[in-house]
């Protein structure tokens, strides 16, 4: 059965109304040329598929609190890099190196995360210094 153009177009117009939280819109959500480091306090962790995420309160120079959302990969992959759902809790000090969302929202995509105990998890980031051992 040949897929028909009318069926395709009907699907296409329905798709445009979908909620923004659908997994991977397949356009670039983040900007690798806009790195940002935040230092603050964890307020919550959502250990869920397809992207785990956590929230950080970051005081600015005047003491005003900015709220950031940090996006991670999925828990099955994070587990292999040493994360689990107890890796952070509200109140923990945290440092996140990441990249800004393109839409200007307070959302960043994490490259490395440094925990309160000093551990830094950085494996798995697309931005490596050296890819020669990645084979």
């Amino acid at each position: 059965m040949k897929p028909s153009r009318s069926v395709f177009l009907a699907l296409a117009s329905a798709a445009l109304a979908l909620p923004a939280l659908a997994h991977h819109s397949f356009v670039a959500q983040f900007d690798p040329n806009k790195p940002r480091t935040i230092v603050g306090t964890v307020t919550g962790l959502e250990w869920t598929n397809p992207h785990a995420r956590f929230y950080v309160d970051v005081p600015d120079a005047k003491g005003k609190v900015l709220k950031f959302e940090v996006e991670l990969g999925s828990p099955n992959k994070l587990l292999r890099y040493g994360w689990n759902r107890n890796s952070m809790k509200a109140g923990d000090a945290i440092t996140v190196e990441g990249f800004d969302a393109r839409d200007g929202s307070a959302l960043i995509n994490a490259k490395t995360v440094k925990f309160a105990d000093g551990r830094t998890i950085s494996a798995g980031s697309s931005l490596q210094e050296d890819y020669s051992n990645k084979k």
């Binding site: 040949k2 397949f26 991670l72 992959k77 798995g124 697309s126």
Partner: protein, 345 residues
């Protein structure tokens, strides 16, 4: 899928090297990201193939430039093998090389599916997992009947969705329109990208028994298929619902497992626009303890002009298991229906 574009060849300045310093029969240029910045450090293999199937390779330098020399005159297809999903995989067709002047071609990459979130770059995760395997060059394990045992957790080298599907014009036109609407990709809803379970960048596991190989993959949905080895035929079309992964039967050709799959639905973009007539042949040959060669031939007489072919390699992964990945868990529509007992005090 490789975007087809016939390129206008422009001789110009190449990142500090002028065309006058390049020789005829050389193809050179630099990799740039969508913001125009040079793409550095990838040191990716770059291959051009002519119409006769001859391939010539080079490697992108750390500064993002590449140079392939001594190419015979002809028209080439270029393939860039990237180690990371930060950028969309890149291929070009219609690159003309002649013996009169150098061909300068900058490659402008597109941003990939997502940015290297910790643990979210499947290509890098694959290489991190394979790095732990010992005795890669050891002998191929065997079943009691002497056949190679393909059991194990594997990850594939390189990007899964390389290669252009040779679609008929009506199918190509549909595909080009569909590609403009990213939300129409089943992957946006955590549905399978491809009907070929080995066409994945995530870990998968073969569990081999004499009567069937069960394949489990850690991708989007809790996915499995069976490759029946008991000599059965495909079911009659009237007794089969077209499905995401089809019906697979396998037989041994020496030490190569030949798998044939039919019965696909028309929903997976991994084969471009395809019909229910899609037929997939896979050939698996475990070449050592830690390596397996995979050859893929897909055919669709109703929607394509010729076969799609791909060869790739898989690497064994030790010390990990398939971990459940239910991608749709985070879909907002489900949040409201989540187990009410989770809120108990």
């Amino acid at each position: 899928m490789i975007r087809r574009s016939v390129l206008a060849i422009a001789v110009g300045v190449l990142f500090g090297l002028t065309a006058g310093q390049l020789a005829a029969g050389e193809l050179a240029g630099r990799l740039v990201d969508p913001d125009g910045k040079a793409v550095e450090r990838l040191e990716s293999p770059i291959t051009v193939t002519d119409a006769a199937g001859r391939s010539f390779s080079g490697k992108v330098s750390r500064d993002g430039t590449y140079r392939i020399s001594a190419l015979p005159a002809g028209t080439y297809v270029l393939d860039l093998d990237l180690p990371t999903r930060l950028y969309e995989r890149h291929g070009r067709a219609g690159i003309v090389v002649d013996q009169k002047a150098a061909t300068v071609l900058d490659l402008r990459l597109d941003w990939g599916m997502n940015l290297g979130t910790v643990g979210d770059d499947p290509l890098l995760q694959g290489s991190d997992l394979r790095a732990k395997t010992r005795n890669v060059d050891g002998p191929v394990p065997r079943m009691p009947d002497g056949k190679p045992d393909l059991s194990g957790v594997w990850t594939n080298f390189g990007d899964s969705f390389a290669g252009a599907v040779p679609m008929q014009p009506w199918a190509q036109a549909l595909f080009d329109e569909w590609r403009k609407i990213p939300q129409d990709n089943p992957g946006a809803y955590c549905l399978p990208q491809s009907g070929l379970m080995t066409m994945t960048n995530y870990p998968y596991k073969f569990v081999q028994t004499p009567g069937a190989i069960v394949q489990l993959i850690e991708d989007m949905v809790i996915s499995h298929r069976q490759i029946h080895l008991d000599g059965r035929a495909h079911p009659d079309a009237q007794a089969w619902n077209p499905s995401w992964y089809g019906h697979s039967i396998g037989r041994w050709d020496g030490d190569t497992l030949v798998v044939e799959t039919v019965g696909f639905n028309e929903q997976t973009p991994g084969f471009g626009i395809h019909s229910e007539a899609l037929k997939l042949t896979e050939k698996y040959r475990r070449t050592s303890y830690g390596r397996m060669d995979i050859e893929i031939i897909a055919e669709d007489p109703q929607a394509w002009t010729g076969p799609y072919r791909r060869t790739r390699q898989a690497g064994l992964v030790e010390g990990t298991e398939i971990v459940e990945f239910v991608c749709a868990e985070g879909a907002p529509a489900h949040a409201a229906k989540r187990a009410p007992w989770k809120a108990r005090p």
